[in-house]
Symmetry: C2
Subunit: 333 residues, 2 copies
Amino acid sequence: MKLKEIGEFGFIDRFSPSFQELLTKNLTGIGDDCAILPMNDQEDLLVTTDLLMEDVHFLRSAITPGQLGYKSVAVNLSDIASMGGTPIGTFLSIAIPPDMDVEYLDELMAGYHAISQKYQVPLLGGDTTKSVKHLAINVCVLGKIEKGKARLRSMAQAGDAICVSGPLGDSAGGLKVVLNDLAQVDDYSYLVERHHLPEPRIAEGNLLKEFGGVHAMMDISDGIASDLKHILKASGKAARVKLDQLPVSDELKRVCQSQGWKVDELASGGGEDYELLFTVAADRVEALQKAFTNQFGKSFTVIGQIEAGEPQIHWSRNGNAVEFSKGGFNHFG
Amino acid sequence: MKLKEIGEFGFIDRFSPSFQELLTKNLTGIGDDCAILPMNDQEDLLVTTDLLMEDVHFLRSAITPGQLGYKSVAVNLSDIASMGGTPIGTFLSIAIPPDMDVEYLDELMAGYHAISQKYQVPLLGGDTTKSVKHLAINVCVLGKIEKGKARLRSMAQAGDAICVSGPLGDSAGGLKVVLNDLAQVDDYSYLVERHHLPEPRIAEGNLLKEFGGVHAMMDISDGIASDLKHILKASGKAARVKLDQLPVSDELKRVCQSQGWKVDELASGGGEDYELLFTVAADRVEALQKAFTNQFGKSFTVIGQIEAGEPQIHWSRNGNAVEFSKGGFNHFG
């Protein structure tokens, strides 16, 4: 049997049960954005790691080395943000093709440094080694959070409003611009930048974890059609989502209109926006919106609600139920 | 300029100064086997990570998937051992070629599980993704150690005896058996097993860190000719090492004799033995040897001594100074 027949989640399901017995109390194992470990009386430790492979996650011809260095840290900081945590430090493992220019690597590390400085996160170690052909970058990030404050995928409750912290689909639109080799100007360059330079929503996550009534949380890496299902499975709940409520940038709308792309497919199925997806008790939404807008000068968007039921998403558009077959980005599709 | 002109350490030297400013107090950055972070009043956190790339660190045709899974954890546990620490948990990032058999991965994870169970270290998370061609495996391990007990590369003192916890060169001999396609029987199979299934010296490291007079410590991953230099540079000391005192297994001696390989080149320059290299106050060696032998039923070996002076190794054989040009394994050689 080939791996592509069962996919990455199928593979994880095959080995993870045998490791359950090794978990001691207070350890959260495989299955959330970060692992949670006890650190001290006040705080828990968060750990997350992401492996970026050339020609799978990025094309060397399409992303500048500086953007690549920036993004490789951003996607991990986003996992820390998605629990409500604060990053402590990063670890970089990099496997480098032997003919690579040092100048390329200098730029890559300049991008890595720029985001490290922006979020004041030190680089604490790693591994530098050789690759036969493809550049491989693994970043591991440690973070911390006050004990008991981490927001998990399993915390959604029936009646919760389902919310997202910012526009959806920009990154997927940017990827289409790159793959279709469209001129990167105006709206098109905006989308490509959103794809190459995502921002981890650390401050937003910090506000949300402090706010009573915010329940489940995760970051949007594979697209809400896929990511929301993780929350539903972990929480044992169903969801209703209104496609017409998905927040979409004007830039994406205009590009979709002129290219004939379906905007709600990109907004629901496209990955790598790295906005936060969270659920909030319905009676707390208004107060949270006020606090959120006050602090960030932008609002979050309610896109649906959590219900009792089998873990699936019931989509609607302008009040009419619709089937939605295109899933999120599947690594082994 | 190509990376192979400056090597991996040259690359690290280029970017690490710019990250210094981001280090806050109590954080040990790049440069030791593990990073050390404050965890709580009693303990520090240790973090290490290693990236294994197919056709660079392993050949899929030469190592079984079970051995590969075992070794990918072992080399990281060895870094925890080398500080005197105890492992807490592991994180596995794996990039998989799409045509790979699930059965191969099952075996790989069985090996990963075997060592996890042997040392009672849970798998706490990771990332599973696709690779275009080569299998890539990054393991990150967290460990802990009582505050102030971690043994660093910088702690060697003039007059210290330089010691190793077990035989040297077996792994390098095993690699030569594999690369020369020799029949893997008897002594030859012993060496290959030492190459494919290294054991992290966690218990040994735990005894050593408790023992007054044990100063610098690291694990032997690149060969003592290379690894000892890291201690000398970090400590600002010189070393005298007696090639004739290097501990060598009978198996390696016999294979070297019949193949015409130079045993002390393998023992001094060959990597991946994952024994511990440590320095001990001269007047504590005898007491330490007694405690070590008592606990492990084997002795460690004194191979030379630390002296004041420029960070270099002065080699001798049977009392005569010798030049030693072949360095340890250089990833970008």
